[in-house]
């Protein structure tokens, strides 16, 4: 009967740390409602895969050989082999996005590009900390503020830190309402935050809405071919939405497909959170680097807006630049709140939403650009 004690005897302090991390993620998901769709499965999975001899992972049974575990299988098939899970999620995300605010005010798209700077700044800092270029790139892409892109890039670069990177990405996305105000206030005055922007939306024709996803895919594909799978599936989802002839498919993509993939993605990612790989100094460094990425993204967006103001008659509230990160719609709501704090009559929401959806496009382009460029620099 000694086998009853095998699990207890095999438990290390690292396993206990993982149970605490798992419990913390579940607590944050339920009590604080921080990205519950991802953090709850990741938290539960972190406990599941760290039970000694866990059957959720591949195990070797005496006299039998290797036995497949469901989470490891899901990871190998759904993420490692084809990156299918994060990529299919983009169809649902694309079907959810209304590019109308962007189409009616095109200059907002520029903020999407500026707010990707944090990715590259973080990659540089990560290399100084001793990470390889591929690991640094996988860490830097946390700054895309886009979970599926982060998972995809870290998987394609076969980063050993994928679990920590995914946890950092989703945690900081949930913490945007705390991180962004601090970063924005560092580089703006109250007077700047009170700048009003009139909202006079132009009517967006159906043809423009239909052509937009196709044109974005073509342009991104020709300039950064590695981004095609990311941008293409995002825009495919959006074309289904805007076609207005595939209502049930659009509904399915927005709800059923997204929910199904989200349901298994989090717990599948947790298969990378095995104690031996997770409880180490690098995980702590990745959490710090993720924070740096979000802060630099926000600051770069704000500074870019200030730069545009030097050449523009119609002044832009610089905070709108910070909404160029992909965390949708939290970032736009943060900008609206800060604007009203500075002046209760200031309404920036629709401008910030436009910059925010621009961030969705720019973040997947950034993912594709990094996938295309990093191998040539190795």
């Amino acid at each position: 009967m000694s086998f009853l004690l095998d699990g207890i005897l095999a438990t290390s302090w690292q396993h206990i740390v993982m149970y605490v991390i798992g419990a913390l993620l579940i607590y944050l998901a339920i009590a604080k409602k921080l990205e519950p769709g991802l953090l709850l499965p990741i938290g539960f999975g972190a406990i599941l895969v760290n039970i000694p001899f866990s059957g959720a992972m591949n195990t070797i049974l005496p006299n039998i050989g290797e036995v497949h575990g469901i989470l490891q299988w899901l990871f190998e098939v759904g993420i490692e082999a084809s990156e299918a899970m994060p990529l299919l999620l983009f169809i649902g995300i694309g079907a959810m996005i209304d590019f109308g605010p962007l189409l009616s005010n095109p200059r907002l798209i520029l903020f999407g590009a500026a707010a990707q700077f944090g990715i590259f700044a973080t990659i540089s800092v990560a290399t100084l900390m001793g990470f390889s270029l591929t690991d640094a790139a996988a860490i830097g892409i946390i700054g895309a503020a886009d979970g599926p892109t982060t998972i995809l890039v870290s998987q394609i670069f076969k980063s050993q830190y994928m679990g920590a990177i995914a946890v950092a990405a989703y945690s900081y996305m949930a913490l945007v309402p705390i991180i962004q105000p601090l970063a924005i206030k560092l580089v703006t005055t109250k007077k700047e935050r009170a700048i009003k922007m009139p909202y006079n939306p132009k009517e967006v024709s159906r043809m423009a809405r239909l052509l937009f996803p196709i044109v974005v895919t073509m342009v991104a594909g020709y300039v950064a071919p590695a981004s095609v799978s990311l941008v293409g599936l995002l825009m495919f989802g959006n074309l289904i939405r805007e076609s207005e002839v595939l209502g049930s498919l659009s509904e399915s993509a927005q709800h059923v497909l997204t929910n199904l993939i989200t349901l298994v993605l989090g717990i599948t990612i947790s298969s990378t959170m095995v104690a031996e790989n997770f409880v180490r100094l690098e995980t702590f460094l990745i959490l710090i680097l993720g924070l740096i990425a979000f802060v630099f993204d926000s600051i770069a967006g704000v500074l870019f807006a200030k730069l545009l103001n030097l050449f523009s008659k119609r002044k832009i509230n610089p905070m709108v630049g910070a909404a160029g990160i992909s965390a949708f719609p939290m970032s736009a709501r943060v900008i609206q709140r800060l604007g009203q704090e500075a002046d209760p009559h200031n309404h920036l929401l629709m401008h910030a939403v436009g910059a925010n959806v621009a961030g969705q496009i720019a973040s997947v382009v950034a993912g594709g650009v990094i996938l295309g460029l990093v191998p040539s620099l190795l």
Partner: protein, 42 residues
Amino acid sequence: MEHLFKASLVLMYQGMGAIFTVIFLLYLILLLFTKLFSRNSE
């Protein structure tokens, strides 16, 4: 480490350049859209 840091700076310069190129092209196309399709919607 110095070699990696230099490579990361090259990545920053080329990466931001590529992102701005894509986004600026899209900006120009969006401006064209507003010219082309605004009459249709009126």
